[in-house]
């Protein structure tokens, strides 16, 4: 716990994130650039042709959509149990990225579905649970915006995020029970050829770094905004 609380102080966070930001930004550009190059020079898939390129955008987006929700859930727990002061700000800053990754996953999935399944949208289990995930993100952000008192909004949003986290596996199970058409996972099982696997993994790392970079910028902005507001009200920064 010691480690967590050292960076709970916004001042320490500003110092650390300021030092780390340039490196993560450069690493993001390198990873996404390399993955794009490898992806475009990879041979077309024997079944899917060039549409296999969507894989490199679609799968990392889907992975990140769930990772971000996991991060929000953990931060919410930290905020509710230990009153960790920075985690509310961090959770709130992460939510729009989660919604964006979910939307990107849905859009690229639907573009991929047209040539593969012959239709833009199918009521398949994964697509449906992702659509529900998008609504969970939208509800979470709406609740944050609706409650004026910031500390109340933070705790209400944290409760909602945890309720959602408990519910997501159930939603996933119920939707699976309902219908399945989406292809199974092919990374861990080794079904993906190395020529596609390498750019995919690099791209996933690139997405993660991109999220971390933008996330830090948003948290920093939120902290600076709060300081500015405090100064305007004549309080201590």
């Amino acid at each position: 716990m010691q480690f967590l609380f050292r960076y709970a102080n916004p001042h320490n966070f500003m110092r650390l994130s300021g030092a780390v930001l340039p490196f993560t930004a450069i690493a993001t550009a390198l990873c996404i650039g390399t993955a794009l190059y490898l992806g475009f020079t990879a041979p077309p898939d024997y079944q899917q042709g060039r549409t296999v390129l969507i894989l490199f955008i679609h799968v990392p987006a889907a992975t990140m959509a769930m990772t971000v929700y996991g991060a929000i859930a953990i931060l919410s727990l930290l905020s509710l149990v230990w009153r960790h002061p920075l985690s509310d700000t961090a959770a709130r800053a992460a939510a729009p990225f989660g919604a964006l990754f979910t939307t990107l996953g849905l859009i690229t999935g639907s573009l991929w579905g047209k040539p593969m399944w012959g239709t833009y949208w199918v009521w398949d289990a994964r697509l449906t649970s992702f659509l529900l995930l998008l609504f969970l993100y939208l509800g979470y952000m709406a609740l944050w915006n609706a409650i004026e008192d910031e500390s109340r909004a933070a705790r209400a949003a944290a409760i909602l995020a945890l309720v959602g986290a408990v519910n997501i596996p159930i939603i996933k199970f119920s939707v699976n029970w309902w219908n399945t058409l989406h292809q199974g996972e092919s990374i861990v099982s080794g079904a993906l050829a190395p020529v596609f696997l390498a750019p995919l993994l690099i791209m996933m790392l690139g997405y993660l770094l991109l999220f971390l970079t933008l996330w830090m910028i948003r948290i920093r902005t939120a902290i600076l905004e709060r300081r500015a507001r405090n100064l305007m009200q004549g309080g201590a920064a």
Binding site: L132, A142, I147, A156, I159, L162, N167, I171, S174, W177
Partner: protein
């Protein structure tokens, strides 16, 4: 009378008398069921096919109508502060309110459903399954709804944000409930779906009071 029973009876009386939210929910449910065939056509075979899904979604939406007032009225006139000060733990208060909401909304909706199923030409066996699925599934709607209601109790326009928050969480109830009816229509056993629905409802009723009590606490500023 125990504090729990007192609160339960008080809330049921309020639901029955002030504005009659129970009667409103029933009328809304009947109206949704009336408009639906107007939208999708009068083909009785098609209507029987979609009856389970339409009536389940209709029941969930009807139960939503009165949910935003679950804690809000008591919050606005200050009685929620007094209830919170009473010896009854806030978790049990939430449970009493969930039970009152179900008895004044979920149960009447369930009792009305066979009549509406008749309008949709649903066979008798499937109607029985629909009735049972609503009977065991609507408590989950009241329970999860109570979380949303307690989170938004201080908001003037909480009724707008409440559906956005809780409808995604209710997807499993609709899937299992309507799935049970479809299974019965296809001559397959509805037991699997009903069992899953019961498990979902049980977990929801068991866990929701804790989340609802936590968010009431934060809204009372204690």
């Amino acid at each position: 009378m125990s504090p729990f029973a007192t609160l339960l009876l008080r809330d049921i009386k309020l639901a029955a008398r002030s504005g009659g939210s129970a009667a409103l929910a029933l009328s809304f449910f009947a109206l949704v069921a009336t408009l639906m065939p107007l939208g999708i056509g009068a083909d009785l075979r098609l209507l029987a096919r979609v009856a389970g899904g339409v009536l389940w979604v209709g029941a969930v939406l009807s139960a939503l109508l009165s949910l935003d007032r679950l804690f809000q009225g008591d919050y606005e006139d200050g009685s929620l502060d007094l209830i919170a000060l009473s010896p009854l733990p806030l978790e049990l208060t939430a449970l009493a309110k969930i039970a009152a909401h179900w008895l004044s909304t979920g149960l009447p909706l369930t009792l009305l459903s066979p009549l509406l199923a008749l309008l949709f030409n649903l066979p008798a066996a499937a109607t029985g399954v629909l009735f049972v699925s609503l009977l065991i599934g609507t408590p989950a709607v009241s329970a999860i709804g109570a979380i949303g209601a307690s989170l938004t109790l201080s908001l003037k326009r909480g009724g707008l944000i409440l559906p956005l928050i809780i409808l995604p969480l209710l997807a499993p109830a609709v899937i299992f409930g309507a799935g049970a009816v479809s299974a019965a229509l296809d001559g397959l056993g509805a037991k699997d779906a009903l069992g899953l629905l019961a498990a979902f409802a049980f977990a929801a009723v068991l866990l929701s009071p804790f989340a609802a009590a936590a968010s009431v606490r934060l809204n009372l500023g204690s």
